[in-house]
Symmetry: C2
């Protein structure tokens, strides 16, 4: 992947067009340097902000001595570009009327554009604001730029309330499901494929794992007034060594999105029970977050924005803020159902409306 | 893979030690240049042989004007080296008493050593002999060095009878199963793995293919007096793109080793029927060979060697000779059940006995 030199971003331009500019800066996880450079240099031109950088995480904040501080956070990485011919959710972005197509259009460069526009527009906000633009959200939790900052610059994550600008289609989404990944390893015995009876086929032996996953009915769990729908899926499979060898190994990667009534340990127990008899190893996990909407700061934000709260299915870093004691909600432009699809897109008005709601709340 | 310069091979040394020398020349398919160089230069030192080379296929023959001509053929490539720690069927070779371990020990550098020893020893054979040492046997049939030679030097494959020195443990094996490869492609629909219900999981959808393959009972088919046992297996599987995306594609590679009563087309029909409802594409096929032991030249060889013929399960190039109208059998040192295993080995006496049997027949 080639990082093009960061062009200057105009933070005072229309926020939908600013979104398009960000989409054109390809930033698949692990390759965020270019977009981070562009964001950092744009923010450093704003005299009312203190700016620091940690790796490819850029942070900026006002220091007005307000009685409340809020965090506005968003990740700057995306999942890999689509590979299917004709996919529009790719780089560079394209406009179709007022609809903007491109990788990250919903997840979540619209939200990042709103953060940047607010950073430039709100020189005198009613609450002090900390802006966090972070890397490595779309990969293993252990790589998270936000997690890294929580260790290296914890003072930057002190706040009364946080808004994560993940796509919620303009509604407020409380809490989030947790996520855990597992590797299921099936071992066989290699032999020449012309004498299969001398070996044990590790791909055939994987059939039962896939049958159990296919037949599993994911639960919907009621937590603090909201319904969290779970997902449990094989996301990768690989097995076999050569076209004439009975395969002696198959590895299935499983992703479990579990409701916030469970800890990662309970999620692991659940998957181990479902796949009993197989070798299951947990490789990654991040706890969910209960909605937390009863917290006063959260309630005040919901009242100001004026939308009915819903549950968040996808894991988001509200869980990380929640673990740090900072109540947090998801509120951002775009339809989360389009995230990671080949056809990812956002409507210009959705980005503009999100910006307007936050300007109203913070002015 | 680094090709070391070809050291001189001493074709008059003990044939078991000559086998060890060949094992030390790593020659995984596609990387046969080094061993082909060594074989070519050793053969060119023998004045009674005419030698030509085509790619990494080396051919040598006597021109004594005998009434019969026989081919002695063997491939010089091997499957990839084993990856498991402690595997002994690797490079370089090792001796344990009189047992020789190394990649290719059974499949089939013992046979190649016998060919080379015969080439040096038999300056006045009772039948004219054509020696063929060819590349790319352990990969797709379309790459076969023997197939290439059949097109470019067909005169080199004219003979009354052919012996392929594939491992048969000193017995004579007639005919061989055919082999065909298929790709089964399962298509789904990508979505974020936290909202699995928006996508279609192509790995879960592959479960039924694996169940059918796992539950399939391969047949044993009686052909011309011999029993051919079939094998039908998934040999590779790959699916999924990222840990948080519902996979939209899974590909399963299937290898069918079918009895010589079937054509490749009939084998394809059989697999299509078994996997009905799935997208199956045949990617490679090679017909089997009926035993052909009723042919006078084959019968004479069997009588001279004095062993009870058995069926050959693995596909070998007897099928290619059979298609050219040259009756052919498998006869070589080593246990075919060890071929392609992590622990491939051959006993020194097996190689010596094979050499002795052929010297007796041809002197």
């Amino acid at each position: 992947m080639i990082q093009t030199p960061a062009p200057a971003l105009d933070l005072t331009s229309d926020v939908a067009h600013l979104t398009a500019r960000l989409l054109d800066l390809e930033s698949v996880s692990g390759h965020e340097a270019g977009i981070a450079d562009a964001i950092e240099s744009a923010l450093r031109r704003l005299d009312h902000l203190e700016v620091v950088r940690n790796g490819d995480c850029v942070m900026a904040r006002t220091m007005l001595g307000r009685s409340e501080r809020v965090i506005l956070a968003g990740h700057i990485d995306t999942v890999p570009l689509p590979t299917a011919a004709g996919s529009r959710g790719t780089v560079p972005s394209t406009w179709e009327g007022e609809t903007l197509f491109g990788r990250g259009a919903t997840d979540m460069k619209g939200g990042v554009a709103v953060q940047l526009a607010l950073a430039a527009a709100l020189t005198e906000p009613t609450r002090d604001i900390t802006f966090i633009f972070y890397d490595h959200e779309e990969v293993e939790a252990s790589l998270s730029g936000l997690g890294r900052v929580a260790h290296s610059h914890p003072e930057w994550l002190e706040a009364d309330f946080a808004v994560l600008l993940e796509p919620t289609d303009g509604t407020v989404e409380g809490g989030c499901n947790g996520t855990a990944r597992f590797e299921v390893r099936i071992t066989g015995k290699a032999s020449h494929s012309a004498r299969a009876w001398m070996g044990v086929n590790a791909i055939h032996a994987a059939a039962d794992v896939l049958v159990r996953l296919r037949d599993h009915q994911p639960a919907t769990v009621h937590v603090d007034g909201l319904d969290y729908r779970e997902s449990l899926n094989a996301v990768k499979v690989t097995g076999g060594t050569a076209g004439n060898v009975i395969p002696d190994s198959t590895v299935i990667e499983v992703n479990y999105r579990f409701a916030p009534d469970k800890t990662p340990e309970q999620a692991e127990e659940y998957v181990r029970a479902l796949l009993e008899g197989f070798d299951v190893e947990r490789t990654d996990a991040a706890a969910g977050a209960r909605p937390g909407l009863q917290h006063p700061a959260a309630a005040a934000f919901v009242a100001a924005v004026g939308a009915e709260p819903k549950p968040k299915y996808g894991w988001t870093d509200v869980a990380r803020f929640s673990a740090l004691g900072v109540p947090a909600v998801n509120f951002g432009p775009g339809d989360a159902l389009l995230a990671h699809t080949d056809d990812e897109h956002v409507h210009a008005d959705a980005v503009r409306a999100c910006l307007q709601a936050l300007v109203t709340w913070l002015s």
